[in-house]
């Protein structure tokens, strides 16, 4: 690669977003076409990144490094490995969907809406590719700003509360991460994340740093008990905001565990792995029950997101217990399962929120009780909805099954009871998703409004069809996804298992 592909991926959408703002709200059509063009170009570039990626090595690729703030030896240092690459592709992919999904629905301040998503896309790619801790932190925090505005401007009735809660929650989580990054800089003299991986830290230091990171990432994932911002944010956010939030922003938390917690504080991660596992299991089981009683479809999916993201943290931290000397398969399965789960949840949650968005656009209600018998008036739509619901419930042959199955296999190696509790999700997930499907889609038409619903148009069909394909392909043939990340995950496993003490 002769040109700075990764930088292009970060800055093209950001600058494109600025151009879209300059186009202005008075020319919505131009803004729409420009945005979709930019997002497609970025996606194509990200595919180029994928095709140029050498999956046989775990070392960072497409690396760019320039000095940025010499006072602290902070560099503009970016690169990708097998952990960040799939998430970058997921980001560029989801952004296209979101822009298409907002095409007709958003009528107010169109240019600003599109620009917010483009800028956020660039910032999130920045998060996934930063190899300098301060650069990472800057992208990490900056990505809150567009989301704050998206929820606050285009959100529902209670949007102000949700937007501010979202911002403050995540802001509070991340400042502790900043302090621990500064601590490590003062100790090691570098903000390079890769240097931090190699740094010697005592168990006490590691523990403090671990919990500081934990605050930042657990809020983002979100883990029980710091998950309460998510249902509010999801319910109030416009459909596009929910999609990005669920599909990508939550992954930033999971990514943080992969990139920071495990390699930098391996001994503390081991020390506290049971705590994290128990919190993950609570998320999986308890939040699953909470999802069951929701009356609001978006809330239900939000809670199901929390429950599914529990698998990510479970898979990551089960590795310590699953690891037996000489047999890394269990631990590896858990970690790779966590990654696959992140990708798959990106597709499924995006699809589920888009499904709700389709209904909301027509009847302006998220209440399950408003609907009933939608299949009679929207047969094509119901087909997709049921497929995604099945994927959400973890039906084999959909992507939802692969990640969860791998994590459960890993968890069995750790402790059979973890696996038993985790597999409860197959029952719970099926219960809350299918019960919702039954009440919303099946049965006779309950009211006149439902009767007059129009089935999905070509635009909606296209989005849902693409997602359906993604869910099925990853579900039936996950091997390519796993291959891309395999070398990096193996390296991460070694880093996680090598004691720094």
């Amino acid at each position: 690669m002769d040109y700075n592909l990764l930088s292009l991926l970060i800055w093209l959408p950001i600058l494109g977003g600025v151009v879209v703002i300059l186009v202005g709200n008075s020319r919505p059509e131009t803004a729409r076409w420009l945005s979709i063009a930019i997002s497609i170009i970025v996606f194509v570039l990200s595919i180029d990144l994928l095709s140029g990626y050498d999956s046989s090595t775990h070392s960072m690729q497409f690396v760019e490094q320039f000095s940025w703030i010499t006072q602290f030896d902070i560099n503009y240092h970016i690169g990708v490995d097998g952990i960040s690459l799939p998430l970058i592709i997921l980001t560029t992919f989801s952004t296209i969907l979101v822009i298409v999904a907002g095409w007709e629905v958003i009528t107010r301040r169109v240019a600003h809406y599109m620009a917010a998503f483009l800028i956020m896309e660039g910032l999130i790619i920045g998060v996934f590719s930063s190899l300098d801790a301060i650069l990472f932190y800057a992208f990490w925090e900056a990505s809150l700003i567009p989301m704050l505005l998206i929820i606050g401007i285009w959100g529902g009735d209670n949007r102000v509360y949700a937007a501010i809660k979202f911002f403050l929650y995540t802001f509070l989580g991340s400042v502790f991460m900043l302090i621990s990054l500064i601590y490590m800089y003062n100790k090691g003299g570098s903000f390079s994340i890769l240097a931090m991986h190699e740094m010697d830290l005592s168990l006490v230091e590691q523990s403090w740093i671990f919990w500081a990171f934990f605050m930042a990432f657990a809020v983002k994932v979100p883990m029980f008990p710091v998950h309460t911002w998510l249902p509010d944010a999801h319910v109030q956010a416009p459909t596009g905001g929910s999609v990005i939030l669920a599909a990508i922003m939550l992954k930033m938390g999971g990514y943080g565990f992969f990139r920071f917690s495990l390699p930098i504080t391996p001994d503390a991660s081991l020390e506290f792995s049971e705590v994290v596992i128990i919190l993950s299991l609570i998320a999986i089981v308890y939040i699953g029950f909470v999802a069951l009683v929701q009356r609001d479809m978006k809330k239900l999916i939000a809670y199901s997101s929390i429950s599914h993201m529990g698998f990510v943290t479970l898979g990551v931290f089960a590795l310590f217990l699953a690891y037996k000397p000489g047999a890394t398969e269990g631990a590896l399965l858990g970690l790779e399962g966590a990654m696959v789960q992140m990708i798959s949840h990106g597709f499924i949650s995006a699809a589920m929120f888009l499904v709700v968005g389709v209904l909301y656009d027509r009847l302006h209600s998220r209440e399950i009780a408003t609907y009933g018998g939608v299949i009679n008036s929207m047969p094509k739509f119901t087909g997709f909805a049921v497929l995604f619901a099945m994927a959400n419930a973890g039906l084999p042959a959909t992507s939802g099954f692969v990640g969860e199955f791998m994590v459960i296999l890993g968890a069995i190696q750790a402790n059979i009871w973890y696996a038993v509790l985790a597999s409860l999700t197959l029952i719970l997930g099926a219960a809350y998703t299918l019960w919702m499907v039954k009440r919303v889609f099946w049965g006779p038409i309950t009211n006149d409004a439902v009767k007059e619903l129009n089935d999905i148009n070509g635009r909606e069909f296209a989005i849902l069809a693409i997602l359906a394909l993604a869910v099925l392909i990853v579900g039936m043939y996950p091997q390519p996804v796993i291959e891309v990340m395999h070398a990096s995950i193996e390296n991460l496993l070694q880093q996680g298992l090598n004691s720094k003490l």
Partner: protein
């Protein structure tokens, strides 16, 4: 004491910016006397010219070797010169923001500009004072000009009340400062900063001497803390900010902070640096109280000037934190923070002034409702300023907090850093309230924002700098550290 009294022409050049400015003040005052009221614009432009030349003269002195003149009471060094450039520059920006407001409020008078120039003169003396007396005189020139400036809207009772409050409390603070000076003088036998330093760093200080030096030190710290507006000497800040005409509030919340920092450095580092371990404890207490109170109390405010007053208090807390480390980069971090603070605060008050219209002061946070529709560009500027003040990257406010925190952590005060960031998150809440009003609420008024072009341009550049310097903060950080 004898040889120094012979003033050579050469040594006068060292004080050229001050000499030029004080002559300029006299000229402006005289010219203004003979101008008819419709030509008052001339005074305004002359004032700009004065400030510009003063700034350029100060800029030319950067890089000169350190020189002490006037019987060791006036020092020329890079720190002083750089601060003078910033003082002159930010005053000019503040004046551009004020012009329209002053005309509409009927305050566009020659006295206003002369007082501003006098205040600038006082601040420049503070930046260059190398004896306690010079510093005190500079401070008094500044303070007296400010008292009068606040009361310049003499028909508004709130302004007069604010001026009186500031005057009385300021007089007490000056008294405390003088008392401290007399203590230090009494024990060290000198008011010269360098000699005090030599005395304080003496190895065989008797316990009695240390005690009295400490006694004086406490009063000096209180005097400085009062001028900076640190808790618990902050009582005047919200009232004065609210009561003063907005243009004066803007001036008084920004430029004097640079001068106060200079005075702090002169007295506590150049002079009483050897006593650092004593005053840094005081500073820790003052900083944490300021950060805590500023962050929490601002939440309750409905008036944006009061809110910004409390926000200033919390910023001052961060600035003072930079001094607890006792290292050069620690002082540099505080200086960087002050520069950043002035940049942000000017933009914030610029927006506040922008929203004022004839006969109506848009002081309430509710006046910001729907600003993003009425004026998308300036709402964006205000968004940037508020996020920057909250310390959200990539805006410059983040790097200033980051620099301070890095210093505090490296000095081993991990707990203090954690407390500071927690309150920074709390303070984000009220900055978000402004954003909420601007972006999430619907407008109650449809009034179009009217402002002269020069103000719009400068304000836009000001806002853009908060982002651009945020993306490339290296030069400014290095500059701040190089001053010490």
């Amino acid at each position: 004491m004898t040889s120094n009294f012979t003033i050579e022409l050469n040594s006068l050049l060292v004080a050229l910016p001050e000499i030029f400015l004080i002559s300029g003040i006299v000229v402006v005052l005289l010219i203004d006397l003979f101008l008819k009221s419709k030509f008052k614009q001339i005074t305004y432009h002359l004032t700009h010219l004065c400030l510009l030349i003063t700034g350029v003269l100060s800029f030319n002195l950067i890089g000169n070797p350190e020189t002490v003149i006037f019987s060791n009471s006036f020092v020329l060094d890079d720190m002083g010169s750089v601060f003078k450039v910033f003082i002159a520059g930010s005053t000019m920006v503040a004046m551009v923001y004020s012009r329209h407001y002053l005309i509409e409020q009927g305050l566009f008078k020659g006295e206003y500009f002369v007082l501003i120039l006098l205040a600038v003169f006082g601040m420049m003396v503070m930046a260059s004072g190398s004896s306690l007396l010079t510093l005190y005189i500079g401070l008094e020139i500044l303070s007296l000009s400010l008292y009068t400036l606040i009361a310049i809207a003499r028909n508004r009772s709130v302004s007069v009340e604010a001026a009186l409050k500031y005057f009385i409390l300021g007089a007490i603070a000056s008294g405390l400062l003088l008392y401290g000076i007399s203590m230090v003088y009494g024990i060290s036998g000198s008011i010269n900063i360098e000699e005090i330093f030599a005395f304080a760093s003496g190895s065989n200080l008797a316990p009695r001497e240390t005690l009295i030096l400490n006694f004086g030190l406490v009063f000096l710290v209180i005097g400085i803390a009062f001028k900076l507006g640190a808790v618990p000497f902050h009582m005047w800040v919200p009232d004065v900010y609210e009561g003063a005409p907005t243009s004066v509030t803007m001036f008084l919340s920004t430029v004097p902070k640079i001068a106060a920092l200079a005075m702090l450095v002169r007295i506590l580092i150049d002079g009483l640096g050897p006593m650092h371990s004593y005053w840094s404890d005081l500073f820790i207490a003052l900083s944490l109280l300021s950060i805590a109170l500023g962050s929490v109390v601002a939440i309750m405010q409905t008036n944006i000037k009061r809110m910004l007053a409390y926000s200033t208090i919390s910023h001052v807390g961060f600035i003072m934190l930079g001094f607890v480390t006792g290292t050069i980069s620690g002082y540099g971090s505080a200086t960087f923070y002050v520069i950043v603070y002035v940049l942000m605060s000017l933009a914030a008050f610029g927006i506040v002034i922008l929203l004022n219209s004839k006969g109506y002061e848009a002081d309430n946070i509710s006046d910001y409702k729907g600003l993003s529709k009425r004026s998308p560009w300036f709402a964006l500027v205000m968004l940037v300023v508020m996020l920057s003040m909250a310390g959200v990257p990539p805006f410059i406010g983040f790097y200033s907090k980051f620099f301070i925190l890095q210093q505090v952590v490296s000095a081993g005060f991990l707990t203090i850093a954690i407390i500071a960031v927690v309150f920074a998150v709390i303070s984000a809440y009220y900055y978000l309230q402004i954003i909420k009003s601007m972006y999430f609420d619907d407008s109650e008024s449809e009034a179009v924002i009217k402002a002269p072009m020069d103000m719009k341009i400068v304000l836009s550049i000001n806002g853009a700098l908060i982002l651009v310097v945020g993306l490339f903060p290296d030069f400014w950080m290095k500059l701040a550290v190089s001053l010490f």
